[in-house]
């Protein structure tokens, strides 16, 4: 061991080169271990992206694409599947729970994911952890949005803030759904999954802004339209279309027409008796629109009438009544009713809540092509209306006109992108997968997340390999640096070796001196490298988590790491054989006497 102490003293005598070698090895070791750690941690966080979900169902296609889009929100969303399919599957006996997922919108580059509330109950990641709410609370309001921790942090959002969603993913601005803003109801705790970079909205809300007219549900009587909204007036076409039949009838004969109108009114009125006086008004509006189609009417009046409540009233009072004289045709009962309508109008104005109108219009849209409003719809509207009112007062958020419409429509989504499914028993997975893959109504595919994750990870194996090769070369460069430094020191150390020989050192001692030096430098380099690694991990842990949403778990070195370190140590000793052998030969030929 005395020879090692000699080697150590010799090293200390060459502090500069010693420390340079030490650091070059330490840095290469840090890099190598760092890459290993990063690889493991990336893999871990990758594999932790989803858990507890037995199957992910999407349209037929590559499983990796479905996984990427549904779990990682990366890449194009897959083709859609019908909402009906979701309902069918969710009723399957093997299915314990199922959550529909719809994607395709973004907000400042962050994914907007539409789902329903059950998502928060069933979606889990890592070791079956559920998403946790950091602040606010998950609200089942249609326009409530739950945002991921990173979205909140980066965009500096608070509870109650309004957000506007862009159609299409990515940073490039697509169509702004600025007529349907959302309000933030909850901010999630970091999960270090794609959810951190996502906004979660309701399926209904997503569907609402994706209806044919992009959520511009059009103007309603009693609402003042913005000039810019005129372009959207096409949306009214189908409303008118709904009434074409009426118009037609009306044209055919006054009596029939009036009667028809009146019946219609009456019917509605009775249905919503006491409930919503607005309904009458709505029908009045419908009538009004009928008039719109008539050539006999003054054009000016019609235009105004279509867009302004005021005009409508005027029209109501003047043109319509004069011309068609409801009272005359309909008798006293109608007359009363008409009075009633007027009263309602006033009342309605006073309230300044036009939700009913919204509903009515919306119904026109929804029941595209239907001439009659059935009772069911109206009831439904009313129900929605009530519900919404409660909410609107609870939240500081104020709905836009379109939102109110959309809200009351309670639009059911037609299509979704994926379904997360939990099964009653793990044994059911393959059977269920088979069932889904052979689904009759439309082509579907079901993937098992754990397997698909593994498969997908294989894609990275090439990059992993490249990274490995690079780090191996970095270590090799470190060791070669050590070799060249030892080789350079050999000449000046030949005298030292000769002295040692004269006092009785064997060539083996001299050889050992070199090997010992290399081994010591390498070992110290490895220790320093490990220390540097943990220092780096400690320093980087919190910024990585907060800025990149990547949680770096600091673990003990794995057996693989130790194996790699052992290989480095052995390589250093093997590389030192070269100068060792050289000095051995020198010491044999030089003997004890060096003269220079």
């Amino acid at each position: 061991m005395a020879i090692l102490s000699l080697a150590f003293k010799s090293l200390l005598n060459r502090k500069l080169t010693f420390f340079i070698t030490l650091f070059s090895i330490a840095i290469s070791v840090t890099l190598l271990l760092g890459v290993q750690t990063l690889k493991t941690e990336t893999n871990n966080s990758f594999m932790k992206s989803i858990s507890g979900t037995d199957l992910i169902i999407g349209s037929r296609g590559a499983s990796s694409q479905l996984l990427l889009s549904s779990v990682f929100h990366i890449g194009n969303t897959t083709n859609t599947i019908k909402y009906d399919t979701y309902q069918t599957i969710s009723e399957s006996p093997a299915v314990e729970w199922s959550v529909p997922i719809s994607l395709g919108d973004s907000h400042h580059g962050y994914t907007v994911m539409a789902t329903d509330l059950s998502f928060f109950d069933y979606f889990s990641y890592a070791n079956k952890q559920h998403l946790k709410v950091e602040s606010g609370k998950i609200d089942d309001d249609m326009f409530a949005v739950v945002i991921g921790s990173e979205v909140a942090k980066k965009l500096n959002y608070k509870i109650g803030d309004e957000v506007i969603v862009t159609h299409g993913g990515g940073e490039i601005e697509g169509h702004h759904h600025d007529n349907t803003p959302y309000f933030i109801s909850a901010i999630l705790s970091p999960s270090f999954t794609a959810i951190d970079q996502s906004l979660i909205i309701s399926l209904e809300a997503m569907e609402a802004m994706h209806t044919d007219n992009h959520g511009h549900f059009g103007a309603l009587p009693g609402e003042t339209l913005l000039a810019s909204d005129h372009t959207d007036h096409d949306g009214h076409d189908h409303e008118d279309a709904n009434h074409e039949e009426h118009d037609h009838e009306k044209h055919n004969g006054e009596a029939t027409h009036d009667e028809h109108d009146h019946d219609h009114e009456d019917a509605n009125h009775q249905e919503h008796h006491g409930g919503a006086a607005h309904d009458e008004h709505d029908h009045e509006d419908a009538n009004h629109q009928e008039h719109h189609g008539e050539a006999t009417h003054d054009d000016d009046d019609h235009d105004h009438a279509n867009h302004e409540e005021h005009d409508h009233e005027k029209h109501h009072g003047e043109a319509t009544h004069d011309e068609h004289d409801h009272e005359k045709h309909n008798g006293e009962a109608t007359h009363d009713e008409h009075d009633h309508e007027d009263a309602n109008h006033e009342e309605h104005h006073g309230e300044a809540t036009h939700d009913d109108h919204d509903h009515e219009d919306a119904n026109h849209q929804e029941h595209h092509g239907e001439a009659t409003h059935d009772e069911h719809d109206h009831d439904h509207e009313d129900a929605n209306h009530q519900e919404h009112h409660d909410k609107a007062t609870n939240e500081s958020h104020r709905d836009t006109q379109e939102q109110r419409i959309a809200r009351l429509l309670k639009i059911k989504p037609d299509n979704i992108n994926a379904i997360f499914v939990g099964l009653t028993s793990p044994q059911a997975v393959l059977g269920m997968q088979n069932y889904v893959n052979n689904f009759q109504a439309e082509p579907l595919s079901a993937i098992i997340p754990a397997l698909a994750l593994q498969e997908l990870w294989q894609f990275f194996s090439l990059a992993e390999m490249a990274l490995n090769i690079v780090t191996v070369f970095v270590v090799l460069v470190g060791l070669l640096g050590m070799l060249s430094i030892i080789l350079m020191s050999l000449n000046e150390r030949r005298r030292e070796m000769a002295i040692l020989r004269s006092v009785g050192a064997r060539p083996g001692h001299i050889f050992g001196l070199i090997i010992g030096e290399a081994g010591f430098v390498c070992f110290a380099g490895i220790l320093l490298g490990i220390a540097l690694l943990y220092l780096l991990l400690l320093i980087l842990q919190s910024p990585l988590a907060s800025y990149y949403g990547f949680y770096l778990d600091i673990n003990m070195l794995t057996s693989t790491d130790l194996f790699i370190l052992a290989i480095i140590q052995i390589s250093a000793l093997l590389i030192a054989l070269i100068p060792g052998w050289l000095i051995y030969k020198y010491s044999l030929s030089d003997g004890m006497s060096i003269k220079f």
């Binding site: 030292e496 020989r501 006092v503 064997r506 006497s593 060096i594």
Partner: protein, 231 residues
């Protein structure tokens, strides 16, 4: 005590040493005169067992070096021979004391002998330094590179004497010294060798030093290789 018989050594097919016979008796102070290039260094390496002759044998203390393996020869050298060279005797990264006690790393026998004189190796080293005229304890703190050449040579002599080896081989130990120091150094060396009954082989090209020695040999005469022709 040291017997050379028909010793022949060639390096890269060139004869360097060809000595038919040489006997050195115990306690003898032998001066070997030889200019550089006369095969001096090679002879010392042969005596030390660092080089192995092509033919003939070196026998030291009754032990034939040919009979020993190279590592046994290294141990034998460590145990029985102390060397002093012209200069650069000291290892720069070791302290003065570490330089002196260096042979003890490789020779247990010398370590044990050194410990008979003093309680510790360092104490023995200090004792030897004092005997060689280096009393200044401040000297011990200095790096060996900061010592004067004369001091360095005395440190080297102390190392060669530590643990009382039977033989000291000095290769031009005084050529780096000025004449005053040279005389003093040789005087001290003689005294110490006398005291310890050490056989001293002193090799130098400087014939002026001859008169200090009871025995002297001219290597050019002894060595039958004619260098003037071959060089």
């Amino acid at each position: 005590m040291i017997n050379l018989t028909n010793l022949r050594f060639a390096w890269q097919k060139k004869d360097i040493i060809d000595i038919s016979s040489l006997n050195i008796k115990k306690g003898q102070h032998l001066f070997i005169e030889g200019p550089s290039g006369s095969g001096k260094s090679t002879l010392l390496n042969l005596l030390g067992g660092v080089l192995t002759p092509q033919s003939g044998d070196v026998s030291i203390l009754g032990q034939s070096l040919n009979a020993l393996s190279s590592s046994q020869k290294d141990s034998f050298r460590a145990n029985h021979i102390g060397f002093i060279f012209q200069q650069f005797n000291l290892i720069p990264y070791l302290s003065v004391l570490d330089n002196i006690t260096l042979p003890c790393i490789f020779s247990k026998a010398r370590k044990e002998k050194a410990l008979k004189h003093s309680k510790s190796l360092n104490e023995e080293a200090i004792r030897l330094l004092a005997a060689l005229g280096l009393h200044d304890s401040e000297l011990l703190q200095r790096s060996v590179n900061e010592l004067s050449v004369g001091q360095q040579q005395r440190v080297a002599a102390a190392r060669a004497m530590l643990g009382s080896p039977e033989i000291i081989i000095a290769d031009e130990p005084t050529s780096a010294l000025d004449s005053d120091h040279r005389q003093g150094f040789i005087k001290i060396l003689f005294e110490e060798c006398q005291k310890e009954n050490i056989t001293l082989i002193f090799v130098s090209h400087d014939a002026d030093l001859k008169h200090h020695f009871t025995h002297n040999i001219n290597l050019q005469q002894l060595n039958q290789v004619n260098f003037k022709e071959s060089i």
